[in-house]
């Protein structure tokens, strides 16, 4: 087992940090980016495309770079470090992942090419009113009209649903199972109501009323694909959370050394420094699991082992992210509550990630059902 990044991976990290770290070197830049729609910088998005990062996991024939989950994790972590608002996770990893897994050659060429070039924002419309992270759909239903399909029902919240140029929509199939469809959001029967999310992002309510839809690949049950794509996104999100937590802890440590009360810097107080030490322990334990999960995904493991890794990473990082996010604010005191200061945005984003693909207790419940099936948990398949 080897946890070391190779030279190319190091170079990738430095390049991403050079670009995104520069774009958001000052927290004010990030504030400006999220203030106006679409909640991220189209310019930075274009720069990410120029660097090839928006096609990172896709095969080269579709405009991608054919990179693995390790590289995706590196980019996600770097985006996390500056709470970058660009929708890499939901457009590239999630929607792109679904297209790569289920699309026809023509769809892959067109849709993945559009994402890679930075020309197209694709949203993955899966969450529904009342759903709790299942890989299935029930509120939105698909109707087979012979040559054409139509979808009806509501998807919400759809991350970047209002800005999206293309929607990938999950829907209950007439014969049972959950299919995936491509929907043109400007088509008749699609209405979108966009709004801000607490982490500076954007989401939308997407109401489909007999909207024309094209099956992504075949019109067949895609529950397995959705589950696997969600697992991949969970692992990328875990890496983003590592970047968020690391900087949140560093910011907090700096604050403790500079802020004075009672005539002395706050790091004089062991009641505070010990709590910062506990956050570091959380970070390092979580980093190991996030990187491990990325390796599991990168090495074409079985769906079952990937699911296990994604669930373990989600659980560990949910626990860690909450402690880091909450304590980072508390150790700052009042300034940590203000929108003007960065730390709250880190906590808000950690909270969003925690609930995007299933929180800690969700995964705890799933894992607990199978705890009697094996004696020891081994990190190697």
């Amino acid at each position: 087992m080897d946890f070391n990044y190779d030279d190319e991976q190091q170079a990738l990290r430095e390049a991403v940090r050079g670009l995104i770290g520069k774009a958001y070197s000052d927290y004010e830049e990030r504030r400006r980016a999220v203030a106006a729609d679409p909640g991220f910088s189209e310019q930075v998005w274009g720069q990410l495309a120029e660097m090839g990062l928006l096609g990172l996991p896709f095969e080269e024939q579709y405009g991608g770079m054919g990179a693995s989950a390790i590289e995706v994790g590196i980019v996600a972590e770097e985006l996390g470090r500056v709470v970058a608002p660009e929708p890499f996770l939901t457009t590239v990893v999630l929607a792109g992942g679904a297209i790569a897994a289920a699309g026809t050659e023509v769809q892959k060429t067109e849709l993945l090419g559009g994402i890679s070039a930075g020309e197209s924002i694709v949203a993955f419309a899966h969450a529904e009113p009342g759903s709790r992270w299942e890989p299935t759909a029930s509120v939105v239903t698909a109707t087979d009209g012979g040559d054409t399909w139509t979808l009806s029902g509501t998807k919400e919240p759809v991350i970047q649903g209002a800005r999206a140029d293309v929607l990938i929509v999950s829907a209950a199939l007439p014969e049972g199972g959950t299919g995936l469809f491509v929907v043109d959001p400007s088509a008749q029967g699609v209405s979108r109501e966009g709004y801000r999310t607490h982490d500076g992002g954007r989401a939308a309510r997407v109401v489909l009323d007999g909207a024309a839809a094209t099956p992504l690949g075949a019109a067949e049950d895609r529950t397995g694909v959705i589950a696997r794509v969600l697992d991949g996104a969970r692992i990328a999100a875990a890496n983003e959370a590592i970047g968020l937590m690391e900087v949140a802890i560093n910011t907090t440590s700096s604050y403790l050394t500079s802020r004075k009360q009672f005539g002395v810097p706050l790091n004089t107080f062991q009641a505070l420094t010990f709590r910062a030490a506990d956050l570091y322990v959380q970070l390092e334990l979580s980093r190991s699991v996030a990187v491990w999960a990325s390796m599991v995904l990168a090495e074409s493991s079985t769906d079952e082992f990937v699911a296990q890794a994604a669930a373990r990473a989600s659980l560990r990082i949910s626990r860690a992210g909450r402690q880091v996010g909450q304590e980072a604010i508390q150790l700052h005191g009042g300034i940590g509550m203000t929108a003007e200061y960065s730390i709250g945005a880190y906590t808000s984003r950690l909270t969003a990630l925690d609930h995007l693909f299933g929180d800690g207790n969700h995964h705890l419940g799933l894992l607990a059902c199978r705890v009697g099936d094996y004696a020891e948990l081994e990190p190697v398949p």
Binding site: M1, D2, F3, N4, Y5, D6, Q9, I70, I249, S253, L256, T257, N267, Q270, T273, F274, A276, A277, D278, Y280, V281, E284, L285, S286, R287, S288, V289, V291, W292, S294, M295, V296, A298, E299, S301, R312, L315, R316, L364, G365, L367, A368, C369, V371, G372, A375, E376, L377, P379, V380, P381
Partner: protein, 390 residues
């Protein structure tokens, strides 16, 4: 980045697994498995088998019986040893005084002590802590005053684990009370049969007597038993304590104990199922397993990254989390035993199974893990100062 073990490491692991489970007597490993108490003879026998096969002191320099293993191989060795319930080589010999002598002692002293230390011909005890010098070790007061060819030692050491079995004790003593407290400490090797040396057992909360006080009254120690230079022992002690933290995560042991606890849970019928089906317990297992996975991966990551052989400051993370998980698993086991856990004094005629009878003493005994090896508060201090710059 690579998920799997290399072919060489996998073969290395398989060979060790085979060795530990076939060459160390089953009855010795059963005692460890059942949280029982090993006799002195059993511990010596086990370590001698390891030593005959070059597996007792792999971290030592090769000329003294060590192995030129990678850190990954050392990790695998530790893990497999613990998983097979092989008693660990006595820490006082293998990971404390041995490496210190190999690093700082004269050639004559090395020849005199190292082979005997590796083979347990000498059972070492540790004489560091004192009643008023725990985490603040440097404030120790035991005095050694030069008198011709001898030092005369007076004072008291405490928490001397298994001192009742000790042949020799390595001690930190104050040889210069006039200077800064760290600068006046020396290390002396003392024969425990010396006149004026007395070992008094301390009964612990689990009913056991594994630790002792060691009293020194005008104990005469030949000057050739001084390790390295006079008044330089604080450096040796820091070297020793740094080594102590490596391997202290005890991933293999905790993994085995957690798997045992699962068997215990599955053996207790409740309604239509077992305690393992109870969400209160099944979720606890998952939380512990996940944290243990994180600890194991972190141990591997730190092992892979400390190529220069020095302990990574992140080893404090291993100590902190490793000790907490050891405690958490023993706590879980007591909870699984439930009311049966009260039968701790019952004999084999009891209706209560052995594991349940031993669960509470094990839980109480394991409270020590967050105190020894540099208390967890000391580890937090190291993390906040050294890593976070606080």
């Amino acid at each position: 980045m690579q998920l799997t073990l290399s072919a060489e490491d996998a073969e290395f692991r398989d060979q060790l697994r085979e060795f530990f489970t076939t060459k160390i007597p089953q009855e010795i490993r059963d005692v460890v498995r059942d949280n029982g108490e090993l006799t002195r003879e059993q511990l010596v026998q086990s370590m001698r088998i390891l030593n005959e096969n070059g597996l007792a002191v792999p971290s030592w320099p090769t000329e003294w019986g060590g192995k030129d293993w990678t850190l990954m191989q050392k990790h695998i060795w530790h893990e497999e040893l613990q998983r097979a319930y092989v008693p660990e080589p006595l820490a006082f010999n293998a990971s404390m005084i041995g490496p210190v002598l190999a690093q700082f002692a004269t050639q004559e002293m090395k020849e005199r002590f190292l082979p005997a230390t590796a083979n347990m011909d000498i059972w070492w005890s540790q004489g560091f802590s004192e009643p008023d010098a725990g985490s603040d070790l440097a404030s120790l007061k035991t005095r050694a005053v030069r008198d011709g060819d001898h030092y005369v030692v007076n004072g008291q050491k405490t928490w001397t684990t298994l001192g009742q079995f000790g042949d020799w004790i390595f001690t930190l003593v104050r040889t210069n009370p006039e200077v800064k407290k760290q600068a006046g400490i020396s290390m002396l090797l003392i024969d425990m049969k010396s006149p004026g040396l007395e070992v008094r057992p301390i009964e612990l909360i689990d009913g056991g007597k594994e630790v002792n006080e060691v009293w020194f009254t005008d104990v005469r120690v030949p000057v050739e038993n001084l390790v390295g230079e006079e008044n330089r022992a604080w450096d040796y002690a820091k070297f020793l304590l740094g080594n102590e933290r490596v391997g202290i995560a005890r991933v293999g042991t905790t993994k085995a104990r957690l798997a045992q606890a699962k068997e215990f849970a599955a053996s207790i019928k409740v309604g239509d199922g077992t305690l393992l089906d109870d969400p209160q317990f099944s979720t606890r297992f998952v939380e512990l397993e996940t944290d243990l996975l994180a600890l194991e991966l972190t141990a591997l990551r730190v092992a892979a990254n400390s190529a220069d052989g020095k302990p990574d400051p992140a080893s404090s993370v291993l100590k902190l989390k490793g000790s907490e998980l050891q405690q958490a698993v023993t706590e879980l086991t007591v909870d699984l035993a439930g009311p049966a856990s009260l039968a701790s004094g019952a004999d084999d005629d009891s209706t209560v199974p052995l594991w349940a009878r031993r669960s509470t003493p094990a839980y109480l005994n394991t409270r020590k893990t967050t105190i020894y090896g540099g208390s967890n508060e000391v580890q937090r201090q190291i993390i906040s100062r050294t890593i976070l710059g606080l």
